[in-house]
C-alpha cells in the first residue's frame, strides 16, 4: 500500500496543527489519543483501488475530513458529523472482508 499517502495522512491529520485557529492551536491529550486511534485504524485497513491514480485524490478527501475534525470542538455536533463523513468515505474503498 502506498506508504507515501499514509505518511501524508499522519502528517496532515495528526502532526500538522493550525496555530492561527482557536480550536486547533491546542489539543488536549484525550483528543490526541482519539484522533491517533482513528488514523491508526485508517492505516491498518485494506483498500480496494482500481488504479494508482485513484489513491492520491482519495486520501486528499480523507485528510480534508480529518482536518475538519481538528477544526471542530472536540465531541461537538460538527465533530461527530465529520466523523460520520469519514466512516462513509472509508466504507467506499474498503475491501469487503473488513467486519
Amino acid at each position: 500500500m502506498g506508504w507515501r499517502f499514509l505518511s501524508k495522512l499522519i502528517f496532515w491529520g495528526i502532526l500538522q496543527q493550525d496555530a492561527f485557529d482557536k480550536v486547533d492551536c491546542a489539543s488536549p491529550i484525550e483528543r490526541q489519543e482519539y484522533m491517533l486511534n482513528i488514523v491508526i485504524d485508517i492505516c491498518d485497513k485494506e483498500y480496494n483501488f482500481s488504479g494508482f491514480a485513484e489513491v492520491g485524490p482519495y486520501f486528499k478527501k480523507v485528510i480534508n475530513v480529518l482536518k475538519q475534525m481538528n477544526y471542530a470542538l472536540f465531541k461537538s455536533d460538527d465533530f461527530f458529523k465529520e466523523e460520520k463523513e469519514l466512516e462513509k468515505l472509508l466504507a467506499e474503498s474498503q475491501v469487503a472482508v473488513e467486519a
Binding site: 496532515w12 493550525d18 496555530a19 492561527f20 485557529d21 491514480a53 492520491g56 485524490p57 486528499k60 478527501k61 485528510i63 480534508n64 475530513v65 482536518k67 475538519q68 477544526y71 460538527d78
Partner: protein, 440 residues
C-alpha cells in the same frame, strides 16, 4: 560649526591612517565632533589622553601639523515640523537648496525607548503588496529587513511601500545610494505629491563612505521627534544597511580592532541593534516602524550582516525573481513577519490566516511538482493543476507590482482556489469554504 574665541587648537597629530587620526588632547568627550584641517571628524576612541578621530572626508592631504579643534558636542539635528518635505545630507545640512531648518537642537544616537514605556504593536500597516499584506503582514512598531540581491529593484519596492503605507511621516535614510537612486526617490515622492510627509537623509556614493554612519541616527532622531512629540506613526526606511555595515568595518579595521567574521567589527550586533531597537509603539499612539534593506552578496544569508540582522529584527522579507512569470515576487517560503499573528484574522477578515496558509501550502505542492517535472517523472492531474495555480498565484498575488486592498487579495485567493482545485484539496475550515468559495 565654526571655531570660537579662546578655543584650544591642537597641532600635533601622532598617527594617521586612511580613515582616522590620533592625537593627545584633554577634555574631550566620546562621539564629539572636531574639525581636522577644515574636515569634519568624530571621536571614535578615547584611551587616556590619546584620542582617535574618524575623519569623514578621509585623511588624504592632512599634514601632521594640521589644526585640530574640538566642537564640544556630538552630532545634532534641529528638529521641528519644518523637517517635513526636506532632503538633508548625513550631517543634517539641507541638500535641496532650501534654508537651514530652525528648531530644537537634539543630539542624535540617543538611547532607545525603555521597554516598560512601550505598548504591544497591534496596528496593521497596509502596503498594497500582497506578498507583504497577505502573507507577511506588517505591524506598526515592527522592525523588519528586506533581504535582497543587489540587482533586485528594492528601491522601487521601498518607494512604493513609502507612498502606499498609511503613515503620518516617512523618513528615508539613504546610505550609499547612487545619485540615480537618490533622484529616483526624489522624483517619485515629488510626483506623488507626498513630499510634505517625507523627510530624507541621504549619503550618496559621492559622499565619503564614513558619512553613512550618521544617516540612521539622523533619520531615527527625526522619527523620534514626530513619534514622541507629535504622536504620529512614523515609517523609517533604511537603504542599504549592508553599505552601512561596510562603513563600520572600514572605520574599525583601520583602527587596531581585530576584525570578526567577514571582516566586520566585533560590535556589529550591537551597532545594528542600536538602530533597529528604536522601533517602538508608544501607548499614546505614536510609533516608529523600521523597514531596512540588507543586500546579500550572492544570496548568502549566512554572511555576518544578514545573520546578525536576523537575530535582531522581527522577521524578514525576501525578494526573488520568479523565472516562470518573469516578475519579482516576495518569496513566501523565506519571508516571515513575526508580528503578523497580532493582526491577521483580527484586524483583517476572518478567513485571512486560512487563505494565507492554504495558498502557501498549495504553492509548496507546486514546487514539489516542479522538481518532479524537472527530474522527468510523470505528473499527476493534481501536479499539473498546482503548477498552473502557482503561476497564477505568483502573477496575481506575490508579484511586487500588485496593489490592492487586503479583502481583494483574499477574494483573489479564493478565486484561484476555485479555478484550480476542488474544495477538499484546499482543505480550509468548512464554514469558511461555504461562505467564501466562488460560486461558479
Amino acid at each position: 560649526m565654526s571655531t570660537k574665541a579662546f578655543q584650544k587648537i591642537y597641532t600635533k597629530i601622532s598617527q594617521i591612517t586612511k580613515a582616522t587620526i590620533s592625537l593627545h588632547a584633554t577634555g574631550v568627550g566620546n562621539d564629539e565632533l572636531a574639525l581636522v584641517n577644515g574636515k569634519l571628524a568624530q571621536v571614535v576612541k578615547l584611551m587616556g589622553d590619546e584620542i582617535t578621530l574618524q575623519v569623514f572626508g578621509g585623511t588624504e592631504g592632512i599634514p601632521t601639523n594640521a589644526e585640530v579643534t574640538f566642537i564640544g558636542k556630538s552630532p545634532t539635528l534641529n528638529v521641528s515640523d519644518n523637517l517635513a518635505g526636506r532632503f538633508f545630507d548625513a550631517f543634517g545640512n539641507p541638500i535641496d537648496g532650501g534654508p537651514k531648518v530652525e528648531g530644537t537642537e537634539v543630539e542624535i544616537g540617543g538611547p532607545s525607548v525603555n521597554p516598560v514605556r512601550r505598548k504591544q504593536p497591534s496596528e496593521l500597516i497596509a502596503t498594497g503588496i500582497a506578498g507583504i499584506d497577505l502573507n507577511n503582514t506588517l505591524v506598526s512598531g515592527q522592525k523588519i529587513p528586506f533581504f535582497t540581491d543587489p540587482d533586485q529593484p528594492y528601491n522601487e519596492v521601498m518607494a512604493n511601500v513609502a507612498l502606499r503605507a498609511k503613515a503620518d511621516k516617512i523618513i528615508l535614510g539613504g546610505m550609499g545610494l547612487t545619485n540615480d537612486d537618490y533622484l529616483y526617490y526624489k522624483q517619485v515622492f515629488d510626483n506623488a505629491g507626498a513630499l510634505d510627509r517625507i523627510v530624507s537623509f541621504v549619503s550618496t556614493t559621492d559622499h565619503p563612505p564614513v558619512t553613512r554612519l550618521l544617516v540612521p541616527d539622523m533619520a531615527l532622531c527625526a522619527a523620534e521627534y514626530f513619534a514622541v512629540q507629535k504622536n504620529e506613526s512614523v515609517l523609517v526606511l533604511l537603504t542599504d544597511m549592508t553599505l552601512y555595515a561596510d562603513s563600520l568595518s572600514i572605520v574599525s579595521n583601520r583602527m587596531d580592532q581585530i576584525p570578526s567574521k567577514d571582516s566586520m567589527p566585533g560590535s556589529l550586533y550591537s551597532d545594528l541593534a542600536k538602530i533597529y531597537e528604536k522601533a517602538v509603539q508608544f501607548p499614546a499612539g505614536g510609533s516608529i516602524t523600521i523597514i531596512a534593506v540588507t543586500t546579500l552578496s550572492g544570496g548568502d544569508i549566512t554572511h555576518a550582516i544578514p545573520d546578525n540582522t536576523g537575530y535582531i529584527t522581527e522577521g524578514q522579507l525576501f525578494l526573488r525573481r520568479d523565472t516562470d512569470i518573469g516578475k519579482v515576487i516576495v518569496d513566501p517560503f523565506r519571508s516571515l513577519s513575526r508580528l503578523k499573528q497580532l493582526v491577521i484574522g483580527d484586524k483583517t477578515r476572518e478567513d485571512h490566516p486560512q487563505v494565507m496558509n492554504a495558498a502557501i501550502r498549495l504553492f509548496a505542492d507546486a514546487a514539489n511538482a516542479k522538481t518532479k517535472m524537472e527530474n522527468g517523472f510523470d505528473l499527476t492531474d493534481y501536479d499539473e493543476r498546482s503548477l498552473n495555480f502557482a503561476k497564477d498565484y505568483s502573477d496575481k498575488l506575490l508579484a511586487i507590482d500588485v496593489n490592492v486592498g487586503i479583502d481583494e487579495m483574499l477574494d483573489t485567493g479564493w478565486n484561484l482556489f476555485g479555478k484550480h482545485f476542488k474544495r477538499e484539496e484546499v482543505s480550509i475550515k468548512q464554514e469558511l469554504v461555504e461562505k467564501y468559495w466562488p460560486a461558479n
